[in-house]
């Protein structure tokens, strides 16, 4: 088991012929992900060569790609201007799981896409935008995560699920667990934008129901109230042990810290408030990523 994606997930890459799409799409394919096609308008009928041999067919539209390959997931690696339309095209073609790594989509577009999906395509899940993607180690990797830093889960466990708002801190968490030999069931990067398609709670619910996941690491950052809402959810619904880390304790008020969503204002969205909420929900909170890893190692030792 894993959440959202597994070894059976068939993936198309929207933007497979572009720089990012080709680089990461082929890396995902090399990892073992079933990358069954690409979509680039005007390049249908061509294909992208796989360095180790073989090739991936390219289609003009997502609908054509789905009809030909039976894909259920899409990896979107297109520029910000084109990303909203690409997400909606995938949803309209019946794709159930969309990963969008695009950084720099205007917030107005993001809000519109989110609400359109909610109303017209309730069965489609969007991960991102501006996220590193998702990896179920040994099974499926969609996005930009370096697969080799993720420890494959063991049948008997205990295995840890990871959910994070930050890319590099996601890698850091994967690495901390790998160094301790702890398997990862699935690692989800939800991204740092103001309106993420998938939030902490969506992932926590799945992890709670996933028999392969025994404990959960959550990595948050300043801005918004997603961590506080997650804390409420954890208190009421999550029985699996958790550790967490929140980045941005020292961030100055009113400045966007690299991520569009990472900003505190009017004393709201602070790291301290988020840590307090998580602690109150029974989560062990580390003051840096390594400490969160140590806390998880302690938790795993008791499972």
């Amino acid at each position: 088991m894993a959440i959202f994606v597994n070894e059976h997930t068939k993936v198309i890459v929207q933007g497979l012929t572009g720089g990012q799409g080709k680089y990461h799409g082929l890396r995902n394919q090399a990892y073992g992900t079933q990358v069954v096609g690409g979509v680039t308008p005007g390049k249908g009928g061509t294909d992208v060569a796989i360095p180790e041999g073989g090739s991936i067919p390219v289609f003009n539209t997502v609908a054509e790609a789905v009809a030909a390959t039976g894909a259920t997931a899409s990896f979107i690696a297109v520029p910000p201007k084109a990303a909203s339309a690409a997400i909606l095209e995938a949803a309209a073609a019946g794709i159930g799981f969309i990963v969008c790594i695009t950084e720099g989509i205007p917030a107005q577009d993001e809000a519109k896409v989110f609400n359109t999906l909610l109303r017209e395509y309730p069965n489609t899940r969007l991960l991102g935008p501006n996220c590193p993607g998702i990896i179920s180690p040994g099974k499926c990797n969609i996005g930009i995560t370096a697969g080799e830093i993720a420890q494959v889960p063991t049948a008997s466990g205990p295995n840890v699920g990871i959910v994070s708002r930050s890319g590099t801190l996601t890698y850091q968490a994967l690495y901390e667990l790998k160094q301790r030999g702890i398997g990862v069931s699935t690692c989800v990067g939800i991204g740092g934008d103001p309106v993420p398609g998938t939030n902490f709670i969506d992932c926590l619910r799945e992890f709670q129901n996933d028999p392969e996941t025994h404990a959960i690491i959550m990595i948050g950052e300043i801005g918004g109230s997603a961590e506080e809402e997650a804390a409420e959810f954890i208190k009421a619904n999550v029985t699996k042990p958790m550790s967490a880390y929140i980045a941005g304790v020292t961030a100055p008020e009113g400045k966007k810290m690299g991520h569009a969503g990472a900003i505190t204002s009017g004393g709201k969205g602070t790291a301290q408030g988020k840590m307090d909420a998580l602690r109150a929900a029974g989560v062990k909170v580390g003051l840096n990523p390594t400490e969160a890893g140590d806390l998880m190692a302690q938790i795993v030792a008791t499972l």
Binding site: P80, K81, G104, I105, P106, A107, Q108, D109, A111, K112, F114, N115, T116, R119, P132, I144, A146, E148, I149, S164, R165, S166, G167, T168, L169, T170, Y171, Q172, Y175, G192, P194, V195, I219, E221, I222, G224, S225, A226, E229, Y245, A247, G248, V249, T250, A251, P252, K255, K256, M257, G258, H259, A260, G261, A262, G266, A271, L287, N288, P289, T290
Partner: protein, 384 residues
């Protein structure tokens, strides 16, 4: 990007939102000219991006050219909470019957647009929220539906806007919503939104924050960018496309990824130091980016040590190391580097650094983030 009041008003005008006639002035003479054009009496308003201008003496009424000279002369060059006043906005003084409040923002939790409307304007809305929360109408708007006039009108009635102003306010709300959405604002706020004795309504103030991600479809924003209050370090970083925020500590920070950069600031703080900046060099940490980043850090006279914190995912350790070696050949650094290199190909990277013949007084390598932070802070604090 936050706009000055005068820019916010200029932006409002693009969406037909009525504002007082006025102009921006950088000198006393310009202020007088603006006043003559607007018609007396006028208000002379300091243009700074900080609250409390009025209390600091940055907003003055003037009935004639002499008074404009006096006030503009006092206000231009004034320091308001650390912000130097470089320009004033001079506008025709309005007769005020009533002051209201209106704003649009994105409610991140609800994932909808949020209209906040109140008949109690002219004061901080946070204060109203505290003392009389029922006086604020909060209306969520689905971005797919937008805001029809009838809904805006209903909100105005519910907010207890005076009957004679309801139609004017509703019209204003629809226009401001267009400004917020089509104008790609993170925040569009009017406080106060006034009712005049003649029954008209208009925006007496403007607080606008623009979404930088939408800059590609707004060439008209270039002129706003030119007046953005960046310190020299931030200006330099921008020319190199680096995500940089200047702070006032002594440890220069370079990290890959916004989350890791934030985390690096935290760890430096945790071990008793203070960061001089936030700097994310992004995923492709090649030699050019590293040289540019070191250049920006080097420009900061407060920097006593430089902490490079790289976790290789896509970024490969040996490329980062090559970048640093190359950058050291180009930039004469004011402070030693402490580096923590981990993740993909980190060992190769560390080997490259170790074999490059760089003296330990210039570059120290540490295996973990915490150890590297301690070393960098010890150098910065002079306790090494």
């Amino acid at each position: 990007m936050d706009l000055f009041e005068y820019q916010g008003k200029q932006y409002f005008a693009r969406f037909d939102i009525p504002v007082s006639p006025g102009d921006v002035a950088y000198t006393v003479d310009e202020a007088v000219a603006a006043a003559e054009a607007a018609g007396y009496p006028v208000v002379v308003k300091a243009q700074v991006q900080v609250g409390g201008r009025g209390k600091a003496g940055g907003i003055k009424l003037a009935d004639n050219a002499d008074e404009v000279r006096l006030h503009a002369g006092n206000i231009i060059g004034m320091d308001i909470k650390g912000h130097l006043v470089k320009r004033v906005w001079v506008e025709h003084a309005s007769d005020i019957e009533k002051e209201y409040y209106a704003s649009y923002s994105l409610d991140r939790a609800a994932k909808k647009h949020l209209l906040m409307l109140s008949a109690q304007g002219g004061v901080e809305i946070e204060a109203v929220a505290e003392t009389d929360p029922d006086a604020i109408v909060m209306l969520h708007i689905d971005p797919v539906d937008g805001l029809p006039l009838a809904i805006a009108r209903d909100a105005a009635v519910r907010a207890k806007i005076d009957a004679e102003a309801v139609d004017g306010v509703a019209d204003m709300l629809v226009k401001l919503y267009r400004c917020f959405t089509e104008g790609d604002c993170d925040l569009a706020e009017i406080n106060p939104l006034i009712l005049r004795p003649d029954g008209g309504v208009h925006a007496l103030d403007a607080k606008v924050s623009l979404d930088n991600n939408a800059a590609f479809r707004h060439p008209e924003w270039d002129e706003f960018r030119a007046t953005e209050e960046l310190d020299e370090r931030e200006q330099m970083a921008r020319t190199h496309d680096l995500q940089y925020i200047g702070l006032d500590g002594t440890v220069g920070i370079i990290a890959n990824g916004a989350g890791l950069a934030m985390s690096t600031l935290d760890v430096v703080n945790q071990v008793g130091g203070s960061a001089a900046n936030f700097l994310d060099i992004g995923g492709g940490a090649n030699a050019d980016m590293m040289a540019a980043a070191l250049g920006v850090i080097n420009f900061d006279e407060n920097v006593k040590s430089i902490f490079i914190n790289i976790f290789g995912g896509i970024t490969r350790g040996e490329e980062v190391a090559k970048g640093i070696v190359e950058a050291l050949g180009r930039v004469e650094l004011r402070a030693p580097i402490v580096i923590r290199l981990d993740g993909t190909n980190a060992e190769e990277g560390r080997a490259i650094l170790a074999n490059a013949g760089i003296p330990e007084s210039t570059l120290i390598s540490k295996p973990t983030m915490l150890e590297a932070a301690r070393a960098a802070v010890a150098i910065a604090n002079g306790t090494n």
